[in-house]
């Protein structure tokens, strides 16, 4: 089965790269781990190696072109294998179907351009002679794949950059950065995005005004940004809001706070929302799921992510694993332990993965209701607002009750208004009937 080679993400903030040189031609045999092309950014030049052995069936992106990380660059397969173009193309290692972008037709254009002798205009011939360029190696952008003056100048420019570097040096002959040890987060290459993404943090043209100060983005801020953009791109977000009477919860908390304290747990309102969510998730298991192209993946475990603010630095979402197996006391302990460790930067990598549903308590900072962004790959996020005493109407009488707005922001691919509302209604019921 044909597999693709895609443009790697060459650095944490690097979302595109230039195909600087193909080391293999179409029709060449390639071996797993063999370098097949060189790619370049302004920071790093690296070889891209073949993930599998086979034959390089098709080059999709020509030298000199800059493409986004995740863009298919070539197809490797068995000789003579048909290379499907378009939605049927199977990407490497991602499990998501990727429609081959327009590059495929460009690639096809390149193949035919190489098959026939190219039409060379006088100026192109002159430049080719001057720089000793084989025009058939140059990618033509004009009609029918003709090499234009611009094309050959770009090629020459690229070649001189390539020649300026050392030719094909193996990694042990290319020096490193010189810092023998770096923070671990910078040491491993980030895994390329599961679905090729449009430019995420690509800044629009400069909006700088005199006197502006540029505050560099921390890596936490960048990665929050990337996650948020991606989440919005992937899931159609809809929010439904309910109002909940928290009287019984408030009373329960007052009555039990001291006892919980003695057992080593600070009893805030969060454990109640977690417990109520668990009830609702059990009743409506399709909310405890993740969307995949093959179908809705219903999770057996109920792992609740609880967003913790880290002040100006950002936020992090530690996960209560197996929340359905915990009593209120257990949840209270877990919540305060995770929050504490989050603030002291003592969370382990395992603590922040594996959530099946997320709760964000935006009410802590005063917000009444909000429309948070789904924590992928969940299909819903519960936003909890500030608990405020409000005047409500009970029967025909006016009463004062502690009320809270809870909003479910959900993925409309999975839930509709009705099913989302049933879910939230269940949470409301669990809270309002708390005993």
């Amino acid at each position: 089965m044909a597999t693709q080679i895609v443009m790697p993400q060459l650095g944490e903030s690097v979302i595109e790269g230039k195909v600087s040189r193909w080391l293999k031609q179409e029709g060449d045999a390639v071996k797993q781990y063999e370098p097949i092309l060189e790619v370049e950014t302004d920071k790093v030049t690296t070889e891209v190696t073949a993930a599998d052995s086979g034959t390089l069936l098709q080059i999709l992106v020509a030298e000199g072109l800059v493409v986004k990380a995740g863009t298919p660059l070539a197809v490797i397969g068995q000789p003579g294998e048909a290379v499907p173009v378009g939605a049927g193309l199977v990407p490497t290692q991602t499990g998501h179907a990727v429609a081959a972008p327009q590059m495929a037709t460009v690639g096809a254009g390149l193949v035919s351009a190489q098959a026939a002798a190219p039409r060379v205009s006088p100026v192109v011939a002159k430049i080719a002679a001057e720089y000793n360029v084989d025009v058939s190696q140059v990618h033509g952008t004009s009609e029918g794949g003709r090499v234009t003056k611009k094309d050959i100048l770009a090629f020459v420019e690229n070649q001189s950059q390539v020649a300026g570097r050392k030719e094909e040096l193996p990694p042990w002959e290319q020096p490193g950065t010189g810092d023998l040890f770096k923070p671990t987060e910078e040491v491993y290459a980030p895994t390329p995005a599961a679905v090729p993404q449009p430019s995420t943090l690509h800044a629009p043209p400069s909006t700088a005004l005199p006197g502006d100060e540029l505050m560099p983005l921390s890596s936490m801020r960048r990665s929050i940004g990337e996650h948020m953009v991606r989440s919005k791109t992937v899931s159609p977000h809809v929010t439904t809001v309910f109002e909940v009477d928290m009287s019984r919860v408030v009373a329960h908390r007052e009555a039990n706070k001291a006892a919980f304290e003695r057992d080593g747990a600070r009893l805030t309102f969060t454990p109640y929302f977690v417990a109520a969510s668990v009830v609702a998730l059990k009743a409506y298991p399709q909310v405890n799921s993740s969307f995949t192209d093959e179908g809705l993946l219903l999770h057996k475990q109920i792992n609740i992510g609880v967003a913790v603010s880290l002040g100006e630095e950002g936020l992090i979402v530690p996960v209560i694993k197996g929340a359905d197996g915990m009593s209120l006391l257990g949840l209270a302990r877990e919540v305060s332990d995770l929050a504490e460790r989050a603030r002291n930067k003592q969370l382990k990598p395992d603590d922040v993965v594996g959530s099946t549903f997320t709760i964000t308590n935006h009410g802590i900072s005063g917000s009444l209701f909000a429309t948070p962004i789904i924590n992928q790959p969940n299909v819903g996020i519960l936003g909890v607002g500030a608990i405020q005493k409000r005047v409500v109407v009970l029967g025909d009488a006016i009463a004062i009750r502690p009320m809270v707005y809870i909003g479910l922001t959900f993925d409309h691919r999975v839930l509709d208004g009705a099913s989302a509302d049933w879910f939230v209604a269940k949470i409301k019921e669990a809270l309002e009937k708390w005993a």
């Binding site: 690296t46 290319q174 770096k182 671990t184 980030p190």
Partner: protein, 343 residues
Amino acid sequence: MTTTSLAAETDISAGITPDRLLDMYYKMLLSRRLDERMWVLHRQGKIAFHISGLGQEGAQVGAAFALKPGFDFVHPYYRDMALVISLGVTPRELMLAVYGKQGEPSSGARQMPAHYGSRKLNIVSGSSPVATQVPQAAGIAFGELYKRKVGLAAPDAELPVVLTCLGEGSTSQGDFHEALTWAGVYKLPLVVMVENNLYAISVPINKQSAVTDVADRACAYGVVGVSVDGNDCVATYTVMKEAVERARSGGGTTLLEAKTYRPVPHSSDDDDRSYRTREEVEGWKKKDPILRAQVFLMEQGILNERLSQEYDERIAAEVDDANKFAEEQPSPEVEWGMGPVYA
């Protein structure tokens, strides 16, 4: 070929059969290809760290072949990949170490890679502070002599030899000096092999020592000092064999200096452009130990194109297998960080 082949006076009838020579060649090349693959993996961002033994395979394999694996003791240092491969450490085990995966045998991935250790192969677990292994190795040698003196072992039971290796930079540490002091006084069954590759990270040997030939320091301790071309695996084997005989027969310690070179940077993120020239590196590449071994074996009719090709293919397969294996292993459970603190 412009390469220098192995010592003309190499007597291949003096104990090294053609089969063993081929085995030495295979092990050097296997180590080399594994080493190269680890550099690639680091540049791909798949492993955090690699410290290479590239270029020093001749000295290490030559020395290892003169030992009895699992009987003699070895307390190596971090460049000794070819040495430990020759003793029986497998490519899969080495790959587990660079990936830091569960099941890594030296340390359960608690240590950085290249911190070798194996109870069954008598490879003592090593650390990062340099030269600490040398007096410990002396201690093991002392222990083995002790056992025979007090009746814990038969007095004529064959004496295990302890080999410890270090770079020439580490000979500046007090540990080296104190170890050799004991070695001389007690005539320990010890071989201290200094793999003199001319650089301690960036510091060249002339800033490390006023003595150019490390072996010359031996007389200060009353031990035997020998220098050898470390890029000649057969010559190294020969002097190592003599040192082992000397140790086993009660003749005491040898300070064995294997002269070699480090054509690669100190470790995966070092930048060696700031402290040496490309010309120097290129010059030494011509004396590469594997290249020289290949030429020698071909001249002797022991190796031919077909066999060489076969080795290349087998080695490539072993490297790929080890790589794939390690990549697929899980990371260690977090609980592994908790202990064992005490035995």
